[in-house]
């Protein structure tokens, strides 16, 4: 009983921590892009990274599934623990990590293949389906989760690149969830979308948090306020403030956070 009370009181804080980041530094050659970031990202929670352009929020997001490995000059230091395991450990194969930590990018980037193949690709390479029927099921389930099933169910053979921008982005989200990741990283997923498509994606994010830990980078503070439970404010490579979204937007502790959310810097 006692425990339940605490849970209700502190809310999300008591939830399981997914990512444990300690003293994370990211360098692009000599440029110190991320400085001493300490943050705990919770499971079954939407965490928003906000901050002005070039503050390092995308860089930090990309270091959570080691996408920065693809940039030769990029170097990550410090500990990033996923369920207590260091993701930068020499034993970790980034491919395995990325199956666990999926990613959705700023620009919708469907493969120039059919809608079906876009979704089926991940499950195929990870061996999630034993036969065609199972694969069909995964595809349908993922497209439903991506809130795009009704729009595309009659044209699964049509190319994914032929969809509208908002549909493409939802297709990309469906593709990301098809591999059953535990964490979903989203790098400004709505920046290329119109308000209607944005609303659809936001609704989708809200549904996703029931099963996943979602980390979203966004330029829109309204979006952060709408979809996230936790918000982290980055400025010039520093994590300035990390707290419940309500706290950040109603009662920011740091002067810089307040300036940013009220529009004085950014």
């Amino acid at each position: 009983m006692m425990k339940d009370n605490i849970d209700t009181k502190v809310g999300v804080d008591a939830m399981e921590t997914k990512f444990n980041c300690r003293d994370v530094q990211v360098y692009y050659a000599d440029n110190h892009a991320i400085k001493d970031v300490n943050v705990d990202i919770l499971d079954k929670t939407v965490t928003a990274f906000i901050g002005p352009s070039g503050c390092g929020k995308s860089t930090f997001l990309r270091s959570l599934n080691r996408m920065n490995d693809t940039i030769p000059i990029c170097r990550v230091e410090g500990d990033i623990l996923l369920d207590g395991e260091d993701i930068n450990d020499a034993k970790v194969d980034p491919v395995q990590l990325r199956a666990k930590v999926g990613m959705v990018f700023q620009k919708p980037n469907p493969f120039p293949k059919s809608i079906y193949d876009n979704i089926a690709y991940g499950p195929r390479i990870h061996g999630l389906a034993r036969n065609k029927a199972e694969l069909d099921e995964i595809v349908e389930k993922s497209l439903r989760r991506g809130a795009i099933w009704d729009e595309v169910k009659d044209r699964l053979d049509a190319p994914g690149t032929g969809l509208s921008g908002g549909q493409q982005q939802r297709l990309c989200i469906a593709r990301a969830v098809a591999t059953e990741p535990e964490v979903l990283l989203m790098d400004e997923p709505c920046s290329a979308l119109d308000p209607i498509a944005t609303a659809q994606v936001e609704e989708l994010i809200d549904e996703l948090k029931a099963n996943y830990s979602v980390v979203i980078v966004t330029h829109s503070m309204q979006q952060a306020a709408r979809v996230s439970q936790k918000t982290a404010f980055f400025h010039l490579g520093n994590l300035v403030e990390y707290d419940d979204t309500n706290e950040i937007f109603t009662n920011p502790r740091d002067q810089r956070t307040e300036s940013y959310i009220t529009g004085r810097i950014g």
Partner: protein, 442 residues
């Protein structure tokens, strides 16, 4: 405008948009001038192209027709045995032929005087042709057979106007008096013109016999070389490019490799020829004049082209596709082979076919490894022999013909160029078609 903003005042009024101001007029004139330059440049290019094609077709067309003498001929069993019994057997056959031709002319109401030497100058060694035929087909004895005998290239030239009575001098190849017989034969409609299939299907002939020269065998030589080039340079080139572009660490060493690949692309082809001579023939003792060696040399030459174009098309694949694949947990290799390579395919294929087309037209390296001269005696005995038996290649054959003294070979060289151009055009069309087909999936 800048002044106005600097001073902070309102911008100066721009005037009516119905009248064109001096600045706009100047810009429009500049644009018009540039368009004119462009049209002139394209016009000049087209003009030269038309001149080039016209001259090639005009000079090459004679190679595709040949004149033949059609004589119905019957040889009885007795005549056959009689001829085989004499000492100069071909002479006997030749005499039978002359009798038949004489007969034929008389039937057409044409009077002509000629002897065996004239016939030999006009039609070559008729006797042996006939003898070989009957020795192979004894069952035809007593039946009427029509021999289509190709005339010598000088008679061709006389009929097409290249050789005239004024321009020719009497030689062992043709006497002025022989032309009288030619005129009679034309009158009697015994000489006719037909499409020169032997030019397309035949092999090179001796220097004395331009009329019998064909490009067929060297087409086969080129074909085997292209097979070698395709099956070596495409996999090696594409594998090297993929490794360099997608996997290799960027450091000084890979920079060095990159610079040197570009250098190799600029090395004159004759250098590859001498390298091939030294390495493949003198050191590895591969057969001389073989399409295999020619193909290996051309592979060396084509590789840089393929690598450069493949790397360019891999670079052109948007990085978002790579990120998408990596983001859902594809390995580097899966990313490259499932997503990047299919998208780069049209560019790779185009580059490869352009490289092959270059190799097909390359002559210099072939001169050094002996794929020239009178080596294309005939077709290879089989598929595998095709790689190692001495052969020539189209451009080398053209070079050989062009270098021969007899002007009749000049026609053949031009004709060969037409065949070569047809092959190049087919390859380029294939490149365009493949490009279109693969691009549709983007």
């Amino acid at each position: 405008m800048t002044d106005a903003t600097v001073q902070g005042g309102a911008p100066a009024p721009r005037g009516s948009i119905h009248s064109i101001d001096a600045r706009t007029a100047k810009r429009n004139r500049a644009e018009k001038r540039f368009r004119t330059y462009g049209k002139i440049a394209i016009g000049i290019g087209l003009f030269f192209l038309v001149v080039l094609f016209a001259s090639i077709i005009r000079s090459g067309a004679p190679a595709f027709t040949r004149t033949v003498v059609d004589v119905p001929f019957t040889l009885t069993q007795t005549q056959y045995e009689e001829a085989e019994g004499t000492l100069f057997k071909t002479k006997a056959y030749s005499d039978f032929f002359i009798a038949a031709l004489d007969n034929q002319l008389r039937e057409q109401g044409v009077e002509a005087e000629f002897d065996a030497d004239t016939i030999e100058r006009l039609l070559g060694k008729v006797g042996s042709t006939i003898r070989e035929y009957y020795r192979a087909n004894e069952n035809q004895l007593g039946e009427e057979v029509s021999f289509s005998l190709a005339t010598s290239s000088r008679v061709d030239g006389y009929l097409t106007g290249r050789v005239t009575r004024e321009s020719m001098t009497d030689s062992r190849f043709l006497m002025a008096a022989d032309l009288d017989l030619v005129d009679r034969l034309v009158e009697g409609e015994i000489i006719t013109s037909e499409f020169n299939w032997p030019f397309i299907t035949g092999a090179d002939s001796g220097v004395d016999n331009p009329g019998g020269a064909g490009i067929g065998a060297s087409v086969v030589g080129s074909f085997f070389m292209m097979l070698v080039v395709l099956f070596l340079s495409l996999p090696i080139g594409v594998a090297a490019s993929i490794y360099l572009e997608e996997f290799a660490v960027q450091n000084r060493f890979t920079d060095l490799i990159e610079v040197n690949i570009s250098n190799l692309a600029a090395v004159p082809s004759i250098v590859f020829g001498i390298l091939g001579l030294a390495v493949f023939i003198q050191f590895m003792h591969l057969p001389q004049s073989a399409p295999l060696v020619g193909g290996l040399v051309l592979t060396l030459m084509t590789l840089p082209t393929i690598i450069i174009s493949t790397r360019a098309s891999l670079k052109a694949v948007p990085p978002s596709i790579r990120e998408a694949a990596l983001g859902i947990g594809a390995s580097k290799m899966q990313t490259v082979f499932h997503h990047v390579l299919p998208l780069a395919m049209p560019g790779i294929l185009t580059g490869t076919i352009i490289g092959l087309a270059q190799a097909l037209g390359e002559t210099a390296p072939l001169l050094l490894i002996g794929m020239v001269g009178f080596v294309a005696r005939g077709y290879p005995d089989g598929f595998l022999q095709g790689f190692v038996e001495p052969n020539s290649a189209m451009p080398a054959q053209i070079y050989t013909w062009a270098a021969r003294a007899d002007v009749a070979f000049y026609d053949k060289a031009w004709g060969g160029i037409i065949i070569l151009l047809i092959f190049l055009m087919i390859m380029n069309i294939v490149a365009v078609v493949l490009r279109r087909r693969f691009e549709r999936r983007w």
